[in-house]
Amino acid sequence: MPDTPPGPRPIFDFLKLPVDGEPYLEGSRCGRCSATYLGPRLACSRCLARDDFESVALSRTGRLHTFSIVHQSFPGIPTPYVSAIVDLDGGGTVKANLLGVEPDPAQLPFDLPVELTTFVAPRKDADGNEVIAFGFRPRQAEKGA
């Protein structure tokens, strides 16, 4: 295995950080039934098709499906935070923090339009490298629309 040079790396392999473009999440889409997964699969767990996956750049935008607001977490993890389940436009569902919102259920309408954002994680990895994480924030363009 080649040595990876030190430097920032994504928190999950499916978070892609192109040098010359916007970060995105990479999914695998089943060629038979269109089920969409984060990361690779040997076979489709929905329709059982094998070797028929297409690597797709998932949409950077989506809508808030459901959430929980975490007030008690492991020691050292700042609270509260909003753990959101986001349905991406065009397929795929992702869990991540919802940033830039009040952690108040009254301020979190279902189907809130959101977009992907990345940030430097507050913790380094086991080798001391900086880690890039992702989250979602309310979509600016649709505000007031």
Partner: protein, 382 residues
């Protein structure tokens, strides 16, 4: 069609904190009590199925036998998240149905100590994603499932909280419950939030405890006397079928519905025939979902069911009269068999102050996240 299987003995320890005992000692206590309840000796037992999660690699079943009798019988150790105990029970049931044994012992045991929040693991690079990329903590996972029910049906936090009021009230009549303290709706809502919409009193505690059951073939059960025996009318186990968001938001409903369908079909009855239910209320939000999943009401009617006190002791379908996981406690590996213990006590008419009068049929349900669902339907034998 193979022969019927009966529960001829059962027991549980009180759930709580027992730091002075190890997991084998806890399991041994429940095993001996179940043997005594059945009126048999360990020499009569042909196989042991042991459910334990946190020491799954540590031969807990054999260590129990080292405490109570090394008779050389086959021992199988099972781990299946929070469905661990029910899975051990079901394996014993299968062994008897297959004709391999006439008497089998199932023990579920867990020693969690003062372990706090569960879940929230994972991460590939030696960095936990918890709190950075969402939450995998159990209160949050079941919180989000509850919020999804709010989204679909307009269920309110008060309705979820009423589940906690009911189960904490029920536990005051159960001397084996970890907590035996009633609380008001206001107290539940004002308790600190763990993960919206679940407050502290809407989350089950961690704890220690054990439960056991002796299962017998029809022939053996008749020989021992059917007077206090309970027939296993159905045993079903499912894993999560593919559903849209299951891989990021564990879907505890689809597999429970499939499991309930199989169980009702095996038992030849329906939800309307149940005299009591012990279901997996790891969080108050979960109980509401499972009212619908088990068919105790139609989709979208669970909030109304708790509002109208249908699932309280004395209601049409009492749910978690033991206090449920919320108040009786949830030592993971013990829970599945403890639910079977509870139903058995009622069908025998031996449930003391909390007896559901005239109970003839009961259902025990558990969910292990990841996911495994086990349902057993038990019926009074004589």
């Amino acid at each position: 069609m193979s022969e019927d299987v009966y529960v001829v003995g059962t027991s549980m320890t009180r759930f709580g904190r027992f730091p002075e005992q190890d997991v084998a000692q806890l399991g041994a206590r429940a095993a001996l009590d179940a043997l005594d309840d059945a009126g048999i000796s360990l020499r009569d037992v042909e196989s042991l199925f042991c459910g334990n999660l946190f020491q799954a690699s540590a031969m807990v079943g054999q260590r129990i036998l080292q405490q109570v009798g090394q008779t050389g019988i086959p021992v199988v150790n099972c781990a299946n998240a929070c469905a661990t105990g029910a899975t051990a029970f079901r394996e014993a049931w299968m062994g008897i149905r297959a004709g391999a044994y006439d008497l089998a012992l199932a023990v579920g045991v867990e020693q969690m100590g003062k372990q706090g929040l569960l879940g929230g693991g994972g991460g590939r690079r030696g960095i936990s994603p918890e709190g950075i990329v969402g939450s995998g903590l159990m209160p949050a996972v079941f919180g989000a499932a509850g919020v999804e029910h709010m989204r679909k049906y307009g269920t309110t936090q008060e309705q979820f909280a009423r589940v906690a009021v009911k189960n904490h009230e029920h536990s005051t009549r159960n001397p084996l419950a970890q907590y035996q303290k009633a609380c008001t709706l206001e107290e539940v809502l004002k308790a600190r939030t763990i993960a919206w919409p679940n407050t502290l009193l809407m989350c089950c505690p961690t704890g220690d405890g054990a439960a056991a059951a002796v299962l017998a073939s029809a022939r053996k059960a008749r020989e021992l006397g059917l007077g206090r025996a309970v027939r296993v009318a159905a045993s079903a186990l499912t894993s999560d079928p593919w559903s849209d968001r299951d891989l990021v938001l564990p879907d505890v409903s689809t597999l429970t519905r499939a499991c309930a369908r199989q169980a009702y079909e095996q038992a030849g009855l329906g939800a309307e025939d149940l005299d009591l239910v012990e279901l997996h209320d790891c969080f108050a939000t979960a109980e509401i979902l499972h009212y619908e999943n088990l068919g105790l009401c139609g989709d979208g009617e669970a909030g109304k069911l708790i509002d109208e006190r249908v699932t309280w002791h004395g209601g049409r379908t009492p749910v978690n009269v033991s206090g449920g996981l919320l108040s009786k406690g949830h030592p993971l590996g013990a829970t599945g068999i403890a639910n079977i213990f509870e139903i058995t006590q009622h069908l025998r008419g031996e449930a003391g102050d909390r007896q559901v009068e005239g109970a003839r049929v009961g259902l025990a349900h558990v969910i292990g996240l990841g996911s495994a669902c086990a349902i057993h339907v038990l019926e009074k034998a004589a």
